[in-house]
Subunit: 425 residues, 4 copies
C-alpha cells in the first residue's frame, strides 16, 4: 500500500481553516515574546527519528505474544511501512536495521527501495543476545564478555559483519546493546567481564570505516537479573572514552533504575561530547517499552530541554534518534505515529522555553520563576506548530486521523493476511 | 497585610482583553465538542483545597533548614497568610490545623478571625511523632502502637484533645498520620503493633462527635526505616473497615513506594466508598514534599480523572483536600500558589476528558484512542478556564504575578521581620 | 531414571562421621539454650514445598531462551523429575499442575504414577495470560476482567475446568494469577475491571468443591505495564474477603514494588487469617524469578520468622508452599535443589530464634538486643540440622553433591535427548 | 570512663573455653580446605574502620530527634567514646573529623589525647550543607556549584581550612560530600553546575599537601529532591579523573537508587584504581543510615568479596573505611559495636571464599557451583574468627556483652548527664 501526496493534501484541505485558526494566535503570542516561529517550524521539520526494523510487528512479553494482522513479512515490507509512516508525518525518514532479523540479502535492491521511499539508513544493530541456527557457540553465558575467547571471537565477527552490511547500505553507525551479564552473585568476575568487553569492543571499533561511530548502549538489568556488563551511563562512558573519539554513549529512556534523573545524564554526556544516540520509549516500572510520552510527558520535555541546550552549545554534535518500543497491544504503526508526535511535541515545547529568562532566574536563584518558565512552555498547546511543520513538508495535519481515515491497517491486512508474523522479539 | 478586592480588580483590568482573547476560542472549541464550559468553570470555582497551618513557614530536611523572611509568628498570622492566598486564588478557603504546633488558645477569637478572612476549618491533625515538653512519656518507640499501654493512653488522650480543639473551631474530621513503626527487624512484633493501633484508633473513633470522620493516612517509610505500622492503603483500608463507617483512608501523593500506580488506589478506594482525604504534593524519590505538579503533572491529571469519575458515581462522597508540601527553597506562599494552580489545571483537564468517547474506546479495546482522549485533554491549554474561574470569584487572573506585583513578601518581611521562625518541621 | 534408597544411603555413609561431628556440638549448644532440637528436626522433616510442573524445563526472558538438555517431554517425565528431587531432599513431595501446559489426559494413570513416586497434588494453576489454539476469544485485552462478557465467560469456564482436573487428582486449591491489566492510561476503567474480576471470581469460587480453597495472587506489573487488576495484597485481600471464607491471598516473593516490606504483609495476612499460599523465588529488580535465597537470604529468614510466629498463633492455618522460579541459566533440578535448601535453612534459622527473649526485648524497646537475637539465629550455621532432617527421612545429607555424583543430568540427557523442550514459559 | 585491659581480660577469661570449643573445629575445617587461618585472623586484626566524630550522639530525622543520655559534650569526649569502642573491639582506632561540628581548637592537645587513646585521624569532612553563624553567604542554593562565585569562594575557603585543620592532626585525606543540587526542574543549569563544581574542586585539590587524597562522595538525592550535582559514581569518577591522580571516588552504601548493584561499582572503581573511600551503613529505602549489616548482610559480603579481590590485584590501594550511620533509636556505642562486628563478619566471610575454585566455576560457567561457593562462605559461622582476632589484640571476645556488663552507658550518663546534646545532625 502507498499513500499519495494527493490523498494527504485533500484530507489536509478539509482541516486547513481550523488549523489556521489555531496556529495564527499561537504564532502571534510566541512572536510577541520574541520567538522566531518560522525557525521553530523549520527545526521541527528537519527533525527525523529512525524507526527500527523490528518495530513494525507485534511485540511480546515472556508471558505471551498476541499478534495483530497485516504485519510486514519481509524487510521490503518493513521499509514500506516506514515509508507509509513517513508519508504521513514526514519525520520518520530513516530505518535502523537489526541483524540478523533483517539481513539485507540484496543490499543494492534494498538501498534502491529505501531511496525510492525517501528512507535513510541510520545506525545498524547487532544481536548477540540470541542464538542463531548454525552458530558454533551459544551466547547463553555472554558474548563480547564471555569467559571463552572463541565465543567472544564469534560475537566480534558478528558485529563486524553487521558493520559490513551497514556500510553497503549507507549507515554510519553501529549500535551495540550488550545483554551480557549475570543472574547470580559469583557467576561473573566483574573485572574480567569488563576487560573482555573492552577488548572485544576495541576489535570491533577498529573494523569500523573512518566515518563511522560506535554507540554503546547501557542497561541495568534484563535479560540478566543480577548484573549487566554495561549497566549504567558511567560504564558506557568509561568504555567510550577508552575506545576513542568515535565511540559514544547511547541513552535508552527505559534503561535506568527507578527514579533516575535521565535529563541530567543527557546533559552531562552532551557536556563532555559523548552523547551519540538516543532510544525513545516510555515506562513506569522498567524497560516497559511503551509508546513515547504515554506515561511521563513532562520528563520528555525536560530531556528535550537538555538536548536543545546541548545542541546549542555544541552545534556539531550529531545524535542518532530512534524509537525503541515494543508494540504489544496497539497497532504498531499507530503506536509509532503517537510516539513521533509525542517526541515532536516535547521538542516544540523545549523550543519555546525562554532560555534567556531561564538563565536570569537561575542566576538569581528564583526557583519559582524557573519552574514557571518551564511549565509555561509545557502547558502551551504546541500541536498547531507540529501540524504546520508536517503540512509544510507535505505531511498530514493529523497523521493518526489520516491513518485511520485511509484504513491503512485494513489495506495491509488485505495485502498480507491476518496471520503474518514479523521478525523481532 | 491585606490585599483588597480593588487591587485585584485593577490588576485584572489590565489583563482582561488578553484573557478574553485566549478564553473565547477555547470555550468555543470545547462547546463544539459538547462540553458545558459554564459548568466546568463553576466546578473549578467551587473547588477548595485546605492549607495546613504548618505550610506557611520554611520547611527543612534533616540536613538543615534555610529560613526565609516574613514567616508568620503565630496562628493568627498563619490565618492571615492563608487569607492572602485565598484572596488571590479564591481556592484556598480552608485551613488544616496541626496540634500542638498551632493550638488555638482562644478558639472563639480564632474562629472569628477565620470567619472574617473567609476561611473554614478542615480536618485537624494530631502529632505523636515528636515529644513535647512536659509530656510524661516519649514517642521514641511509638505512640498508638507502643508496647506500653501508658504511652498509648497518652497518645490516645492527645488525639481526643485534638478532636476537642477541632470541634470548637468547626472542624469535622481528624487526620491521623502515625509515624509509628520500626527501623530494625525484630524491633516490633508486627501483629501486636497492628492490634494496639487498631485498639487505640477505636478509642479515638469513639470520642469523635457523630458528624466527624477519621482519616487514616498511610506511609511506607520515614521516619521509621524498616517498617511502618500503617505502610500502605491496604492496611489503612483494613483499619478503616474495622473502625466503622466514618473511618476513611487518606492518600498522600508522596507516601508510596517507587512506581506505585496511585490513581488506581484512588479509584479503588472511591469504588468501595472509603476515600476520605487527599494530601497533595509531588516527588521524584520519596516523600519529597515538592510543589504539586512540579514533577509529574500527567500523573496528577490521571488522578483527577479518577476523582472526577468517582465523584460522578458517588456524588455524596466528600473528600478533604489538602496541600501537604515542605517549602524548603521557595517562598511558601509562592509555592502554595503554584500548587493550587497545578491542582486546578489537573482538575480542569480531567473535566474536559470526553468520558463517553473514552468508555467507547475502552469497550472496543481501542487503546490508541483511549490514550488520544486523555492526552488531548492534557495537551489542551486550560489556563484560561482557571483564570476565568478565579476572576468570576473576584480572584486574580494571575495569582502569582499579582503576588509579585503587590510585593507581598516584602510587606510581610517589613511587618514581621527577616528572622521569624514558624512552627512546623 | 530413578535414584534408589541404597544409592543415597551409601553416599551418606561416606559422610556420616563428618556430619555428626558438625551436628553434635550444634545440637548441644541449642539445647543448652533451651531448644528442643528433636522437634526442630521433625518440623524440618515435615516441611514440604510443591514444585510446579513448569519448573522442570528451561525458562526464558522475552529476549531469548537457551534450552538445556534432558528436559522432561511429558507430564509423566515431569513427575519423574520431581520424584528424583524428592528422593534426594525428601522435601518436595508435591506438584502444582499448570493447565493447559500439563493437562492430565489420564487422571487415574497420572495419580497412580504420582502415588508411586510419593508425590501429592498441591494447588492447580489456571492460565488466561496466553491464547490457546482453538479458543474462540483472545486474552490480549484481559480475561476475568475483560470488557466483553463472552471473553470473561470463556476464562471462567477455563478456571472451572482446571478445578475439575484438579479434583480428579486430589488437589484442594486453585491458584488464580491474573495477568489482566492495562499498559496505557485510559485503556482500562479501573472500577469496572475490578468489578468484573470480582464477579468472575465469584462464579469460579462457587464451582469449587467444599473442601477447596481459592488462592488469589497479586502482582504490581508485567505483563501489563501501567496497571494490573490485582496489583497488591490490599486488592487481593479485598477480593478474598468479598468472596468468602475459603478465598485467600497468595504471596509471591517477586511480586512487589521496590523495597516492599514483604514480611510485614505476610504477618498481617496471617493475623487476619487470609494467607493461603506462598510462591518462593528471589529477585533484585522485579519478578526476576531467581533461585530462592540467592540474593536476599536475610529477608527470607525474616519472612520465615513471621510464618513461624503466625503458625504458632493459628495452628489450623494451612499454607500452600510452592517454588515459582524460572531456570534460565542453571540446570532446573540443581536450581530447585538449591531453592529447597535455602527455604529449609531460613526455616531452621527461624526455628532457633529465641522468641521469648525477643518478646522481652520488644517489650523493653531494646532494639539492639532484638537485632542480636535475630542475627544470632541467622549467623548460626544450621546446615547440619537440615542434613540430619534429610537423613532421618532417607534423603541425602548433601542433595546437590549427590545429584552431581550420580550424574543425574547426564542420565536424563541420555534418556531424553539433548534437544528436548518442556512446556512452560 | 575508661575500660582497662584487665577488665576485658578477666571477662574474656570466663568465656575462653567456650570460645576455643567453637574456634578449634572451625579452624580445622578451614585448614583442611587449604585456608591459612592464622593469616585470616591477622587480616581481621589489622582491619580498622574509622568512626566519624558525629556518630557518638543521637541522630534524627526531619520529623524529630529523641536524644539518649550520656552523649559526649565535646570533641574530647567523642574521642574518649571512640577510645572505649576501640578498647572493646580493637578495630575502631581512627576518627574522621567533621568541621565545623568538631573544630580542634587545640590541635596539639587533641592529637596528644588521640595518641594516648590509640586513635588516628582518618579523612576530614567539610560541611557546606548548613549555614554557620557569622558566614557571609548562605548555602541555601548550593556551595561549590553555586551560580555566584562569591559563594563558591566561601565554600572553597572552608574546604581549604578543613584541610589545614586536618594537616595539623595528621589526616591524609579530605572527604567532600556535596549536598548541592536542585529540587525543581529548571532551578539548575546542569552543565554549569557541573563546571562550577569541577573548578571549585580543582582549587581545593591544589591546596592539598602532596601526600593527601581527595575523596569525592556521590548521592542521588536528599537534601535536594530533583537533582544532585554529583549523583552517581559516574559523575564522581569523571570529576576524580579530571582532577588528578590523588582524587578518588568514595562509595557510601546508602547513596544509591533502588536496586543498584553496588558491588559491581566497587569492583569497577577498584579496577580503574579510583576507589578511595567507603562509608558503611545499611538501608532498605534510601539513605536510611541504619546499622551496618542490619538489613542486607549478604550484599555486604558480596561487596567485601570485591574488596578482597580488588586489594589482591592492586595491593598498593589504600581505602579509607568509615562507618556513616545515624543512631536514632539505639545507643550510639552499641550501634557502632554492631556495625563494626557486621563489617568484620562480612570481611571474614569474604576471606574464606575459595577464589581458585570460584574462578574455575566461572570459567566453566558453572553458575550453580559459583553460587554454592559464595553461599558456603556466607553460611559459615565465622564469629569465632572475629572473637579470636579481637582477643589476640587484647580486645573483648564479645564486645557488646562486655559493653553491657561494664554498664558503660550508665557510667557515661553519670559522668555527663542525661540531657547532653552532641553536635551533628
Amino acid at each position: 500500500m502507498k499513500i499519495s501526496e494527493d490523498q494527504i493534501k485533500s484530507l489536509n484541505a478539509a482541516k486547513i481553516t481550523e488549523h489556521q485558526t489555531k496556529l495564527a494566535p499561537l504564532k502571534e503570542r510566541l512572536e510577541l515574546r520574541g520567538f522566531d516561529t518560522g525557525n521553530i517550524i523549520r527545526r521541527l521539520r528537519s527533525f527525523q527519528v529512525a524507526i527500527p526494523s523490528w518495530a513494525l510487528g507485534t511485540g511480546g512479553t515472556r508471558f505471551g505474544r498476541f499478534p495483530g494482522g497485516g504485519e510486514p513479512r519481509s524487510l521490503e515490507e518493513k521499509l514500506e511501512d516506514i515509508g507509509l509512516l513517513n508519508t504521513l508525518n514526514q519525520s520518520s525518514g530513516a530505518v535502523s536495521l537489526h541483524i540478523p532479523w533483517d539481513i539485507p540479502e540484496d543490499p543494492e535492491g534494498t538501498r534502491a527501495l529505501a531511496d525510492d521511499l525517501g528512507i535513510k539508513f541510520d545506525a545498524v544493530n547487532s544481536n548477540t543476545f540470541q542464538d542463531q541456527p548454525g552458530e558454533k557457540h551459544s551466547y547463553k553465558f555472554g558474548s563480547l564478555s564471555h569467559v571463552n575467547k572463541d565465543v567472544r571471537a564469534q560475537a566480534i565477527a558478528h558485529n563486524k559483519e553487521v558493520i559490513d552490511y551497514g556500510a553497503k547500505l549507507g549507515s554510519k553507525a553501529l549500535t551495540v546493546w550488550l545483554a551480557d551479564g549475570s543472574s547470580f552473585p559469583g557467576q561473573n568476575n566483574f573485572m574480567k567481564a569488563f576487560s573482555n568487553t573492552k577488548d572485544s569492543l576495541e576489535s570491533i571499533y577498529d573494523h569500523m570505516p573512518d566515518d563511522w561511530k560506535m554507540l554503546i548502549e547501557y542497561k541495568p538489568y534484563e535479560p540478566n537479573f543480577y548484573s549487566m556488563v554495561i549497566p549504567d551511563w558511567g560504564t558506557s562512558h568509561l568504555l567510550a572514552t577508552k575506545l576513542g573519539q568515535r565511540a559514544y554513549s547511547l541513552v535508552d529512556l527505559g534503561h535506568h533504575l527507578p527514579n533516575t534523573n535521565i535529563e541530567q545524564i543527557v546533559a552531562l554526556l552532551m557536556h563532555v561530547g559523548k552523547l551519540g544516540g538516543f532510544h525513545f520509549n516510555d515506562s513506569k516500572y522498567g524497560d516497559d517499552d511503551l509508546t513515547v510520552g504515554s506515561l511521563k510527558p513532562y520528563q520528555l520535555m525536560l530531556i528535550f530541554n537538555e538536548l536543545v541546550l546541548g545542541l546549542a552549545s555544541d552545534p556539531k554534535l550529531e545524535i542518532s534518534w530512534m524509537i525503541d518500543a515494543s508494540h504489544n497491544l496497539k497497532d504498531p504503526l499507530e503506536d509509532l505515529i503517537q510516539s513521533v508526535e509525542a517526541i515532536k511535541i516535547a521538542y516544540a515545547q523545549a523550543l519555546i522555553i525562554d532560555h534567556k529568562l531561564l538563565q536570569m532566574a537561575q542566576e538569581s536563584n528564583d526557583v519559582t520563576l524557573a519552574q514557571e518558565i518551564l511549565q509555561d512552555a509545557f502547558r502551551t498547546d504546541v500541536r498547531p506548530l507540529l501540524a504546520e511543520a508536517s503540512r509544510e513538508s507535505n505531511g498530514s495535519l493529523h497523521p493518526l486521523l489520516t491513518y485511520r481515515k485511509l484504513k491503512v491497517r485494513e489495506h495491509l491486512i488485505k495485502e498480507r493476511g491476518n496471520k503474518t508474523y514479523s521478525t523481532g522479539l
